[in-house]
Amino acid sequence: MYKWKRQFLSGPYVVWIAGFIILPILTIFYYGITDSSGSFTLANIFAIAEPIHMKALLLSLKLALLCTAFCLILSYPLAMILNNLHLKQQSFVVFIFVLPMWMNFMLRILAWQLLLSNNGILNTILEGLGMPKLQLLNTPSAVVFGMVYDFLPFMILPIYNAMGRIQRDVVDAARDLGASELQVFLKIILPLTISGVISGIIMVFVPALTSFVISNLLGGGKVLLIGNVIEQEFMQNMDWNMGSGLSIVLMIFVVASMAFMNAHGSEEGGGAVW
């Protein structure tokens, strides 16, 4: 009786998941494997093989990988430096890095659109210095830049947390046993933070792969990602079946990348350090 009462408390959440997560996914699957007349077909899923779709998917993968790599390169040393600061300074710097997350994501991207545009601040400065204007906006680089800007905190925080969990004694013990600074990093700090790196990669790679707003605003329709293709199928072509079919393919990529990272992660985190 008591147990049943407590389970009852999860009721609102169950309703939420059912209505806003499970039902939409089932709907997507239904549309994805039927045509406009409602009969079964796999054509929507295999449509990914069309050159324009394939090109968008490959570009999405490439930009998402680039974005993840930049985030990692920026975050790891930063997390190390942060971790070595005094506690007071530490929480302040973390606050600074998390601060942008409190601002609306669209606003931040719109701000970059203004900064990077042909008559924007950056080009004005270049002009003032007597240098030629640069085409910054509406390039794949701008899209990657926007993604990195947006997703960086999601990489920093898990790595920083993992690093904070390493006790000073453990590092001292490794030094004591003869390890140089480099060996301490390779054999202690890196393996003990790999779980943070993996969560960071997943939390950056997945939204970067599926993003379409950033490429819309900073790519100006010239950078077509798989997210943009799906959006167009739904919103412009009104072809819900095709949009759903491509969504399923994208979902498979997301789930596969997460599974890959997790499998790889448990291996790295285990004994195979040497």
């Binding site: 453990v170 004994g271 350090v273």
Partner: protein
Amino acid sequence: MPKELIHLSHITKSYETAVILDDLDLHIRENEFMTLLGPSGCGKTTTLRLLGGFETPDAGQIFFDGTDITSLPPNERKLNTVFQKYALFTHMSIAENIAFGLKISKKSKTYIDDKIKYALKLVNLEGYEKRSVDSLSGGQQQRIAIARAIVNEPKVLLLDEPLGALDLKLRQDMQYELIRLKEELGITFVYVTHDQEEALTMSDTIVVMNQGYIQQIGTPEDIYNEPANAFVADFIGESNIIDGRMLQDRLVEFLGVQITCVDTGFGQNQPVDVVIRPEDVELSDPANGFMEGDVISTIFKGVHYEIEVHANGYDWLVHTTKMFPVGAHVGIHVIPFNIHIMNKPESNDEKAVESDV
């Protein structure tokens, strides 16, 4: 006497405004079990971290076997440390933990495997190679930490309150274990603790520290029987510390009575501290003592009764195997040999720690 191995010469160390060690000078000999004993904040752990190379002194030098190692990083010192909270590498198996130092120094695989076996046998954990760190109890983890340190054959093993996190029974077992280990390995142990019983049980030499100064260096017997000042007397076991006046050699006056003692050389009419161990106080018929008093509390402690006697304005702490009920009128007697006379503290660190009973 074995030759000197380590010399800490005029070491001073402070953090921001707090002075942790002030002009500390300490000699550690080969094959010695030396314990740094003191309350928290006395500088004992800092001394150990200076030896390990995790801290550098503000002034002074550290000599190891005659060579100055003051600025040598930890990985280039021939010492190994056992940390208070074990500090095992949780991402490695037990065997990998123990092999860490040996792999760094590029020993052959067969050598490493032999050493792992030998070390696990030494700490009574044979067959634990493949286990994970998390599957071990606190006591087992601490043994692995010791094994991990000793496989590197250090000349000195530094131990920072290694038994602090263990429960009483395990702590006592580990004390004997450590003594056995030290005898088998034949190396120097420098041991840090705030537990006086631990220090008395295991050490060849005890260094009692307080507020960054060494109060006394000596064998456990010296420290216990002949404490150098009120702080040591109070920190090592319990003591009655009474204001007194040395009238002349072998005659002291305290609490209004004059009593013969064995100490000399304090001059005439000098204010002194009279220190008497609770177990040295004898209770008897009122007529047989040098003063009379009333029992104000009696607590059974197992081995002895802990009795408080109010006499001549002082509450005496007495340990005795004979039971005296509260309210009993008794005589107090102490044989001259057990009356210890000490100079009054010259500085704060020599004073007994104030505590309300």
